[in-house]
Symmetry: C2
Subunit: 234 residues, 2 copies
């Protein structure tokens, strides 16, 4: 009680709400391969496993649906989103401009505060950026890269519009399908983007980031049909 009042300083006592914990649990479950793409999420299973009420689960699913992580079908429930070829292309088209803006803003603000230090730390952990442990938690490092970039942007609307979950989603669906050449190309592109941002080169950062997304779209278009969900007939 007394402690609480003392804490009334600008610090936030923000304990994450229960639905948020469910959201995080599911997001993590996707990333960690505990849930597979397209899998159905049954409310009663979640209430049992996570020990929360059904209303809470439903709120979490609503949030995930709004983020585009799960697809909600009336009277059928929630499914881990699985992209058709067209949906994947549509997503990348939007991601191209959003990530482009993010890279631009990050480059623009790289020299204020301790942004430079933060971002340098996030990029150095990426494979090929001064280290050699290629496979050690690459997805996590990439997540950190994007997260740091978004934070530096300081644009709440951008963060709301382009949650990292999109990128995780995309990655989860196609992980393991890339050739070694693809992977090498991706790493090189990240290095170039990071270099441009670190240099504070606004224009170049945006251009390179957009090029990376476009290249990703090209690489994706070469994947077999089996990598994609069947087209949505709704």
């Amino acid at each position: 009680m007394f402690m609480d009042k003392l804490r009334a300083s600008p610090k936030k006592p923000m304990a994450t709400s229960t639905p948020d914990m469910v959201v995080r649990s599911i997001n993590e479950g996707i990333l960690k391969r505990r849930y597979s793409i397209g899998q159905r999420l049954v409310e009663s299973d979640l209430t049992r496993d996570l020990k929360v009420s059904r209303g809470t689960v439903r709120e979490a699913l609503k949030t995930l649906s709004a983020e585009g992580v799960v697809k909600l079908t009336p009277h059928r429930g929630a499914f881990i989103r699985s992209l058709s070829r067209k949906e994947a292309n549509d997503l990348l088209l939007v991601l191209e401009v959003l990530c482009g803006v993010a890279a631009r803003l990050a480059a623009q603000r790289i020299n204020s505060g301790d942004h430079l230090k933060q971002f340098r730390a996030a990029t150095q952990a990426l494979p090929g950026m001064g280290n050699n442990a290629v496979s050690s938690g690459f997805p996590e490092q990439r997540a950190r890269f994007y997260q740091t970039m978004l934070t530096i942007c300081g644009n709440a609307e951008l963060e709301r519009t382009m949650p990292l979950s999109h990128i995780f989603m995309f990655r989860a669906q196609f992980q393991g399908l890339w050739s070694n050449k693809d992977i090498a190309a991706v790493l090189k592109e990240y290095q170039e983007v990071a270099a441009a941002i670190l240099a504070g080169n606004v224009k170049l950062a945006e251009t390179r980031m957009r090029r990376h997304i476009r290249k990703t779209a090209e690489r994706m278009s070469k994947l077999a049909d089996s990598a994609f969900a069947v087209a949505d007939l709704s």
Copy 2:
């Protein structure tokens, strides 16, 4: 399959879910000035007025929050979102690229299907586009303009990312604060964008749309402080 096709006639059996009705009711309430910017939405009031359960109201508020229409503050409830100067600028920065892409895609697809007819109809209703009833439901006509453009794009991700509600929100907060010169300029910009899209000029449509949003940002920056919410100190 064959039956499916027959049944899949333009009419969809999709009875809108109860939370969706609540969402629409609130969105409409904002547009129609039944709710004012920054107003608090109390769950019990909504359950009473709309005759739905509290769980349903909560799901609706979650959705609206994800769309950025209301702001959810823990233990304090939902508020119709009110933008600070910075938030408004952040929003316009994102809207610039998203609307730009939308205009580009619309121009690209204007000649397939009956897109041209649809879009022409939507633009002719705009003031200064061949009619003269300037004040007759301008917000509605503008909404139709954007809605039609997004539909023509055929990019579900774009529709999900950039719900019209954003534009309504923005409009609601600043309505009545523009000068006659501002309004005239806006109308001119819409005409130019529409013309470019109708002409199928991909590059020009995107450029003009982005310019329109940038101009809007400029006009907005000249508004008095009283038009904005106080900065968020969270």
